[in-house]
């Protein structure tokens, strides 16, 4: 029997094991800290937020502007488009202490940060 299919089967099994080892979304395992902010006139309010370390965080972003915005953060590793005059909910994993910046990807000037301690 060819060694190629055997190797492929072994590798597929290894890949399945690797996926099974990946932790489930941490935001489902613990009670999340909820932070609320609004987006109005192209700015976040408040723009500086705080949350405790080692707990998941849920952002509730109310977009009061008449056009869509995209809540995005490289360090939080999330992005979500929030339509005009609506609310977006973004679940984030349990965070280590530090400062996590976020911004509106459609608006260079709209920025904020979450300080976790």
């Amino acid at each position: 029997m060819s060694s190629v299919p055997i190797m492929m089967k072994k590798l597929a099994l290894a890949a399945l094991c690797a996926i099974a080892m990946v932790p489930a979304s941490p935001s489902q395992a613990q009670q999340a800290t909820e932070v609320q902010l609004t987006y109005s006139k192209g700015q976040f309010q408040p723009s500086e937020l705080r949350a405790p370390a080692d707990k998941p965080v849920t952002f509730r972003v109310k977009n009061l502007d008449a056009k869509a915005m995209e809540f995005e953060s490289t360090s939080l590793r999330v992005e979500k488009v929030v339509a005009a005059n609506s609310e977006g909910v973004i679940n984030v994993r349990a965070l280590k202490p530090g400062r996590y910046e976020f911004y509106d990807d459609f608006n260079e000037k709209a920025r904020g940060a979450l300080t976790v301690q």
Partner: protein, 298 residues
């Protein structure tokens, strides 16, 4: 479509350099502290950074790697990944796609003359973020596996059945906030190939890289990298056949928030073949390699 020759890639390199100089000139007045954080995955050239994207992000990329130059004759081969990638969680990234290949070979000892374009195979990649960077920890590490099947041999362009399982550790370190990054890769790439006449060949490539990238504008990163690669005629790294050192520059430009490109050029600066006292290793590796990638996020 013909394979892109080394001269054309060189022209492309000159063009990119000119773009880079223009960007560098306009970047002097910018303040790095006002820049957004940057995703490091594609900022080191052939070296892959630890980034896994953002949860919910999807991306389509066209990623071409060209290999040029053997001991004699003329040799140009490219492999293009037409790739879809997405990030289903804040720890995992998944990629998959098709491979297109071109070969333009003439007068190379040990290889048949060939001029062809073909659908070369398919691949998938799973990336897992093992250590994440925070404002208090500059190190980030991602583990990646990439199984690939090919019907066209990467080097010769012959019809084969090839299965490769690339395993990498992608690490990077933020040396200056938002500005200077060091990247490191560790690579183990075993593969098995069945030729058209039924022979089975096993081989592996093992090596690592170190790279440095400097963000000269909010949307432009330049850098350099060095790779050390070893080749074996066995998957378990027991039959060493030669090694090589490759060195070269890299460039990353983000054109819009949803579109970027990355380019890199590596030249073999040192190499050896077991049992052949010649300069460089052009049996298992190439004289030059180039990378050009365009990505669209959505």
């Amino acid at each position: 479509m013909k394979a892109m020759r080394a001269g054309q890639w060189h022209s492309l390199g000159v063009l990119i350099s000119l773009v880079l100089l223009g960007c560098a000139g306009s970047a002097r007045a910018e303040d790095a502290s006002s820049w957004r954080e940057i995703e490091t995955k594609y900022t080191f050239g052939f070296t892959t950074g630890s980034g896994i994207g953002l949860e919910g992000e999807k991306e389509f990329t066209v990623d071409t790697i060209g290999r040029f130059g053997k001991r004699d004759g003329h040799y140009a081969a490219t492999e293009t990944k037409y790739e879809f990638e997405f990030t289903p969680s804040q720890f995992i990234q998944i990629e998959f796609g098709a491979l297109g290949s071109t070969h333009n070979i003439g007068g190379v000892t040990g290889l048949d003359d060939r001029s062809q374009v073909a659908l070369g195979g398919a691949f998938a990649e799973l990336r897992y973020l093992a250590i994440e960077r925070t404002s208090n920890n500059p190190l980030s590490v991602t583990l990646a596996v990439e199984p690939t099947v090919r019907r066209i041999d990467e080097t010769s362009g012959e019809r084969v059945r090839n299965f490769e399982f690339e395993t990498t550790v992608n690490a990077d370190l933020e040396l200056m906030k938002n500005r200077l990054f060091a990247g490191f890769n560790l690579l183990y790439e075993p593969e098995v190939t069945q030729t058209a006449i039924g022979d089975t060949q096993r081989e592996a490539t093992f090596g690592g890289s170190a790279a440095l990238s400097l963000r000269i504008a909010s949307n432009v990163v330049v850098g350099g990298e060095v790779w050390y690669l070893r080749h074996y005629d066995a998957a378990n790294l027991t039959a060493f056949t030669g090694d090589a050192v490759m060195l070269g520059p890299s460039l990353y430009i983000r054109f819009t928030p949803k579109m970027f490109m990355t380019a890199a050029w590596n030249t073999q600066v040192w190499g050896r073949e077991v049992g052949n006292p010649v300069a460089l290793n052009l049996a298992e590796f190439q004289r030059h390699r180039a990378k050009l990638k365009f990505a669209w996020e959505f």
